[in-house]
Amino acid sequence: MFINFVLSAFGAMEEENVCSIYANQVDLGVEKDDVGVRGDRGRRFWMDISINIYLIQLVHGLVYGMLIFLVASGLTLVFGMMGVLNIAHAAFYMLGAYFAYTVAVYLGNFWLSFLLSPLIVAFLAILIERFLLRKTYKAGHLPELLLTFGFFYIFVELVIIIWGSNPLPVPVPALLAGDVPFMGKTYPIYRLFILGFSCVILLGMALVLMRTQIGIIIRAAVSDADMVDVLGHNVPVVFLGVFGGGAALAALAGVIAAPFLSTYPGMGMDMLLDCFVVIVIGGLGSLWGALVAALMIGALQSLGILWIPQLALVFQFLLMAVVLIARPTGLFGEKE
């Protein structure tokens, strides 16, 4: 399930291409034993190492947090505009990763999937929105949710039929393979690339949303779609664009996640649960809330597992329950 990442983080400290499903918490013990063995040089050394572990884990957390944010941003915008909680969104992320695998293996060029995968997935998403989802708007929010739910099931099963249920490792592109020295340990370059790349995407998104005409319309539609409609903008078309764009972002997140987490059919469900938590903590419809919450969740998961490994499964849910009980609309949410 969704713990795979948290668990894999430890495996990945040992070696890069460890498959996330098979990594488990035993690795934590290995890490500590390792430290203990070297600790005979003195207590001070031991402490340095343990602080470094926390720092490295924090960077892991940021990497995963940015990944969640890429997926959750589309989800939260779509919810803000139309009130659709798009469960199939996590399936778009999963499809993105699988397309990346296919492109990398059959076309031999991982970079091509940065272009192809989001395009295909966005096309798929636009078809679903235009021809199926749009018909259910008049019947309230429940049918929309259930429809995307059905699509989630369909996509997961199709992935199992087409690619099989075993995890498929996607090789890290040669340009980004290898490690850099970091805090007395080595750190895989590819993860730093994920961090940098998602920051670039975030900046691009912020520019589009804050500085362009279409961004203003989108933000206005998130806060009140009816009013924007009355003002003469074509809200259904804008929404179609946001839906497709969100799906493309999710697919892009899938592409960059593929060499990092490997592709497996459960990745959609893992991401779905994390995304739910993130958009709820951040407040449904709030982009900045999603960013803050995603980074919080990433850091919490990767640091939390060092403190209380038994609770690793539920850290994000614990945080979500606390936030919702204290602030029922999330950290940055405004309306019901």
Binding site: F79, L85, L132, K135, T136, A139, H141, L142, P143, L145, L146, L147, F149, G150, F151, F152, Y153, I154, V156, E157, L158, I160, I161, M269, L273, F276, V277, V280, L284, Q310, L311, L313, V314, F317, L318, M320, A321, L324, I325, P328, T329, G330, E336
Partner: protein, 323 residues
């Protein structure tokens, strides 16, 4: 033939079929029938929330799983405990679990409510997975079906599948009837009133929080009973009793059957279980077909399968004449 007469005949027919099932069906089908009965109870309790309360819960496996684990633990650790008391414990644990969860959840609405119930269910799932000394985690716990002692009849062995079928039938029918009667009370009406407009309901003087909490924990009671019966039937409990897929299965059954009618979820449970049994014998990718079915139902059959059985349609079909 009046509508009432048709209902009497139909109800009598259904009762006769339910009672005669063990005699006319092979044993493997009785297993399927027991499963259907248990899931019917789960789906009806889910529809109490979704259809009547307008509360979409993603975590309905929580009370189900709590009931299942409570039944398994009391079977294993309290030898000599009468079977019906075990099932009562299961139902009450479901009730208490739902009361606790509901206390934090029912203030919230819509997607927030759905997701926080999911969060609580994930806590319980993690507890079942990690608290190995009690729940044995992934390995699950085997349970020996205790004997049912009834005054006047002596003890009845449940290893005989027919006896188990009748026990399940009686308890499920009691649960579903209790649910039906609950909805006819003023409290049940208040629940529906809150589904339509809870602000107005609170202006009318209803305590929205307390009413929603009551219906949430009552649904938990029934789900806990279903969980207890499920353990008795499977003679085994593992984390699958409380995972996300169980919650989603309850949702699928209820929506496929139809949320707008009291018996919709029952129909959904029958259809879902039989469909799954049939199609998983043909292909291991049965989830795909469930998903497609789900999309079709949402797109083209708004009221669910039960809307195919509307009285008007049946009358036209039976008498062969249109209005």
């Amino acid at each position: 033939m009046s509508r009432y007469g048709a209902f009497q005949i139909g109800g009598g027919g259904v009762a006769a079929v339910l009672l005669l099932f063990p005699i006319i069906l092979p044993e493997i089908k009785i297993h399927l029938a027991i499963e259907i009965l248990i899931f019917a109870l789960l789906a009806v309790s889910f529809n109490l929330l979704l259809g009547y309360g307008g509360m979409l819960a993603f975590g309905h496996a929580a009370p189900f799983g709590v009931g299942a684990y409570a039944a398994a633990l009391s079977c294993n650790h309290l030898p000599g405990m009468p079977l019906l008391v075990t099932l009562l414990i299961a139902a009450l644990s479901g009730f208490v679990g739902a009361l606790f969860i509901g206390f934090f959840c029912v203030r919230l609405k819509g997607a927030y409510f759905a997701l926080i119930t999911l969060a609580f269910q994930m806590f319980l799932f993690a507890a079942a997975l990690k608290w190995r000394s009690v729940t044995r985690g992934d390995d699950g716990m085997g349970v020996v079906r205790p004997e049912l002692y009834l005054p006047g009849l002596g003890s009845i062995s449940l290893m005989n599948i027919h006896n188990l079928y009748y026990l399940t039938l009686v308890l499920v029918v009691v649960g579903i009837v209790a649910c039906y009667l609950f909805l006819r009370t003023p409290l049940g009406n208040a629940v529906m009133c809150m589904r339509e407009n809870d602000v107005r309901a609170s202006f009318l003087g209803y305590d929205v929080f307390l009413t929603k909490l009551t219906v949430f924990s009552f649904a938990g009671l029934l789900a806990g009973l279903a969980g207890g019966l499920f353990v008795l039937f499977q003679e085994f409990v593992a984390t699958t009793a409380i995972d996300v897929n169980r919650s989603f299965a309850a949702l699928l059954m209820t929506v496929i059957g139809g949320t707008g009618h009291f018996l919709g979820p029952v129909l959904g449970a029958i259809f879902y279980t039989v469909f799954q049994d049939w199609i998983s014998s043909l292909t291991k990718h049965w989830i795909l077909f469930v998903g497609i079915l789900f999309v079709i139902v949402v797109m083209y059959l708004e009221g669910g399968l039960i809307s195919l059985l509307k009285w008007e349609r049946i009358r036209v079909w039976v008498s062969g004449q249109k209005e």
